[in-house]
Structure formats: structure tokens, C-alpha cells
Amino acid sequence: MSSHDPRSSGCTPFEEELINAMNDFAHSTDSPAFDTTGMVHRTAAGAPPSSPVSPRP
């Protein structure tokens, strides 16, 4: 995907640890199922998103 590959081009031990930390965290829980049928129906009906945007960053 990328022309830049930090994993193989001068990645420091700290950066490698950061990459490992992010990967461990990313795989620490299963992905939920997303209701695509509901999304398509709401989109077709011109309805707003199902849940309001919560101010959680």
C-alpha cells in the first residue's frame, strides 16, 4: 500500500515497540458485527444515522 515502510527502513527499537504495542492492542478484542442491512435501508429512506454522534474522541 505504501512506498514508505517503517518496518524495514531505519525503524528504531522504540518505534518497533510502538508498532508491536499498537498491533497487540488492535487484536486484543474481536471486531463487532455491523448492521449493513440497516445502513442500506436508512440510506435508501434518507434517514439520519441510527445513533447520534457521541462526543467520544
Binding site: E17, N20, T29, S31, T36, P57
Partner: protein, 189 residues
Amino acid sequence: MDLAAKWATGAGRNGVGSTEGDFHGFVAARSAALFRGALVLTGSRDAAEDLVQETLERACRKWRTISAKDAPDAYVRRIMVNLANDRWRRFRRTAQHPVDGDPVAPGDEYGRIDSRDQLVRALQQLPMRMRTVVVLRYFHDLSDAEIAADLKISQSTVRSQLARGIDRLRSQFPALSTPSSQQLTEGTR
């Protein structure tokens, strides 16, 4: 090439019979990867789920346009990271306290058993724009140009945000930052 890889390159839509089926296929193939990226970006399962849900709803509304692009996956990721930054800006206007989790006390990392957990928590303390740049580089493996395009900022801003983000993180984990690794980083900026 599996389905997820096909969608990442834009080839996944070939052979799909309808726009609706196309969108279902995209979500089936790519929602887990989107969720993992959102999880690293937000540090919270609930916030990540909300972020991906809204991202997919927005993508669904523009799916005919998105699916015609060379790389739908990259386009949807771009929606997600900008949505996360927009949310963060709105949140900062209404709250003046840390999001969640205990703040990481500088200098208190010696002797902690799980430095990776601490690194992820420290990442969450970075300002959202800086955090996004770090995540796009080190988790999504994007180049300066790709990050700049995603966030609509200059490549020099990407480099400065990245350098400052890594410096902030490294300063909290002196045990992980040997003098030789610092020299190596300075040589690659």
C-alpha cells in the same frame, strides 16, 4: 488474493451484482480492519465501534461514488480518521479533561511490567491530530504523502507532528530509548 486484499486494492467490487451487495461485501471484508484502526486511534472499544458505525453509514450514503474509486478502502479510512478528528474538536469545545484512563505520569515507567499497554495508553494522551499521524504511519504504514492527503495537511506538517509525537512518547519511556536508537531516529527525519 483474498477478499480483504481485493478491497484494499479496489478490485473487490469486480463481479459483484449490485451496489447494495457491493457494500455488504466491502463491510464483510474490511470492517474488522477498520475497527482495529479505530481501536488504536480511540483507545476504547465503544468509541471505536461508534466511529466505525458512523464511518460505514457515511460510506453507505456515498457508496456509488466510493465504489468507483481505485482504492475504496483508502477512501473509507480517510472518512474515518477525519471523523475522529472532527469529533475530537467538538469534544474539546465542551470538555476540558482527559478522555478516559489515568494519565501517564512522566518518569513513572521504570519497573512497569507491561510497557506495551503503557505505550498504548500514552498514545491516547497525544492530541488527536498528532495521534492520528502516528497511527497512520506506524499502524497503517502510510507514507508522508499518503498521511498528508488523508488529513489534508502538508507533508512538512506530517513530519513535524510525527517527530513531536514520537518525542513525547519516547520521553515517557526512557528505558525503551537507548542513545543509539535516538541517533538513528534523528538521522531518518
